[in-house]
Symmetry: C2
Subunit: 372 residues, 2 copies
């Protein structure tokens, strides 16, 4: 066990932004919320899933939508307390621990605030190991843990308890409630008894995010290659360094789809990587510049991350701009996301792409075999 | 105390349609639901508010939106049981009684089913004495009884518990949940302890609806004037008998507004009554045919009802058609709706009309003073 105090929030936010794989919302706002809660209630104990007892009751906390920065005010703490109280009431028992439901993006920081308010430890784990946009994409959901009863709350203090007959129904109702809550809602969901915890979470992801953030910060301070530092901490592969030469957006079935063409520079010259994103970066296709060869370089549920080549900072889907110098890296997702049942929820076809998932490691081998 | 059995449901539905004042949904569907529940669980005891004890817990049950008849199947009973269970859980106690929240339209019949399922008595009262489209228009809401925590449920069995900070917020969230639930949701809301019951309900409205329906049925059977029979039972005034000569619809701020011009016949010839409606009939303006004189004949929150002149059956806002022979009648609303605070929620200005409320009785006097 160790403590999450103010000093580590910056690293956690920096790393969570990278694990957001282009989505997940801005962790800086979550940082402000978490910092305020720590100042008021003290640091948060972080415990490994191994240290959670079978009889414990772990409450994942997260966020849907994105808080409007335009409001120029900090999301209130009030709803978080109300949500946790309504959640305890709905389940008939109080949280012994909280946990991030999603380590990618702002949702990594909200549980720190929740743990501080409740004065309970936070579990070093989450239910995605990255960011995904919908409840049925939670590893827990895929593995049979219902998101219901879940509680949503807004900045005014309205709360809603949802009991969906399945997570697809819950997702649809939650989405519409979120819109009415100002396009941004805090939530508690997918409660897990300690006995089932390890089978449905990705372990150690809070520490992973923090390590990523620290590696990045230290590399920046020491003028080392920040992307290399992230890769060393993450264990992934560099798909390409280059420059964004084209960004195309298309609205399709209510989703905004984006395709960014990144033309390789230096050792990657002669090739172009196209990153396709919705909320998150979902697919990367590598082609040589004469168009004679195109191959899949990475796809969901593996993590595709776009970093600013100079600073190593995460580049979100909305931040992809013509002319930006970026490095695209990829890392393996949790093995349980690679099972057939999981791929139906989070594989390329689940997002409308007409091809099957191939694990990143096998694609990298293919690439090595290619002549360019 | 008496019993609501299958035999009286027809009268109750017929009367509730009239008290729907043009809106409230089709009680025939509610009748099917109530009949099924009575067949399965037995008749429902109906008790007067005087017979409710201070320590009792009365649960108003209602419906939002309209069940899609196109589905050609009966709304399931299952959600009603789930809603009542979730409501009891949210309040920490079980219903000792149920009650209609709204006597106008389909919502008059749903509580019969709820009472049958729970095997508790139904209270002979409601919180409107008519139909209105939004939660903050409940007399109880105006008088300070929160609609929250309220429970909504759909035919699939999804339930949602809403805790709004006020009924305006609850209404907005409930409305959006209703859309996601297929534009039709059952609900329990605005729980009242027995001690406060009489101060926030309109007493005797179940019996009033039933009496209206019976009077209408008997007049039809005996070939007496059905509109006169309704008026005798209701105690209202006949504004005009005539023929619909123009129906104009206009969509404005998400609402469909409708104006139907009814040209007077027989003793009403030479005058035209224009009925303005949204979900319900809200305003009636009387003019002589040369347009030289126009006066308010009735307005919300007083009840404006359009009946088929030949059968006496309620004509809903959607059923207003060119050429129809109709009688427009009006009746006084509950006195508490006439207070200044209430008029802010249910008076003409609350629906976008640019004039103040005048009580029906005073308008009828004005009319008598007019020369035509």
């Amino acid at each position: 066990m160790r403590y999450i105090d103010e000093a580590v929030l910056g690293d956690l936010a920096r790393g969570a932004a990278i694990l957001g794989t282009g989505g997940g919302g801005d962790p800086q706002l979550g940082l402000l919320i978490a910092r305020q809660a720590i100042r008021e209630h003290g640091p948060v104990a972080l415990v490994h899933p191994d240290d959670v007892s079978a009889g414990d009751f772990v409450v994942p906390v997260s966020m849907m939508g994105a808080p409007a920065v335009a409001k120029e005010k900090l999301p209130s703490m009030h709803p978080l307390a109300a949500i946790l109280e309504a959640f305890a009431h709905a389940h008939g028992r109080a949280a012994t621990h909280v946990m991030p439901a999603e380590i990618g993006g702002i949702a990594a920081l909200i549980p720190v605030a929740a743990a501080a308010i409740l004065k309970v430890p936070m579990v070093d784990a989450d239910m995605m190991g990255r960011a995904f946009p919908q409840l049925p994409m939670l590893l827990s959901s895929i593995l049979g843990v219902s998101a219901s009863p879940m509680v949503m709350g807004d900045e005014w203090g309205n709360t809603v308890v949802l009991r969906g007959i399945d997570d697809e129904h819950t997702e649809r109702i939650a989405r519409t409630v979120c819109v009415e809550m100002g396009a941004s809602a805090l939530m508690a969901l997918s409660a897990v008894p300690g006995s089932d915890l390890k089978s449905v979470v990705v372990e150690g992801t809070v520490t992973r995010a923090e390590n990523l953030g620290r590696a990045l910060r230290e590399a920046q301070a020491e003028h080392r290659d920040p992307v290399g530092a992230v890769l060393d901490a993450l264990g992934g592969s560099r798909l390409l360094d280059g420059k964004v030469v084209d960004v195309e957006t298309r609205t399709d079935g209510g989703f905004t789809r984006l395709a960014a063409a990144v033309k390789g520079l230096d050792s990657f010259s002669g090739t172009t990587l196209t990153v396709r994103s919705q909320n998150e970066h979902l697919v990367a296709m590598l082609a040589n510049d004469d168009g004679s060869h195109e191959t899949l370089a990475a796809s969901t549920p593996d993590l595709i991350m776009v970093l600013d080549t100079a600073t190593g900072a995460a580049v979100t889907t909305e931040q992809l701009r013509f002319g930006a110098r970026v490095s695209v890296i990829a890392a393996a997702c949790d093995d349980r996301y690679r099972q057939q049942k999981a791929l139906a929820a989070v594989g390329p076809r689940a997002f409308g792409y007409d091809f099957d998932y191939v694990a990143l490691e096998n694609l990298v081998q293919d690439e090595a075999k290619a002549t360019w």
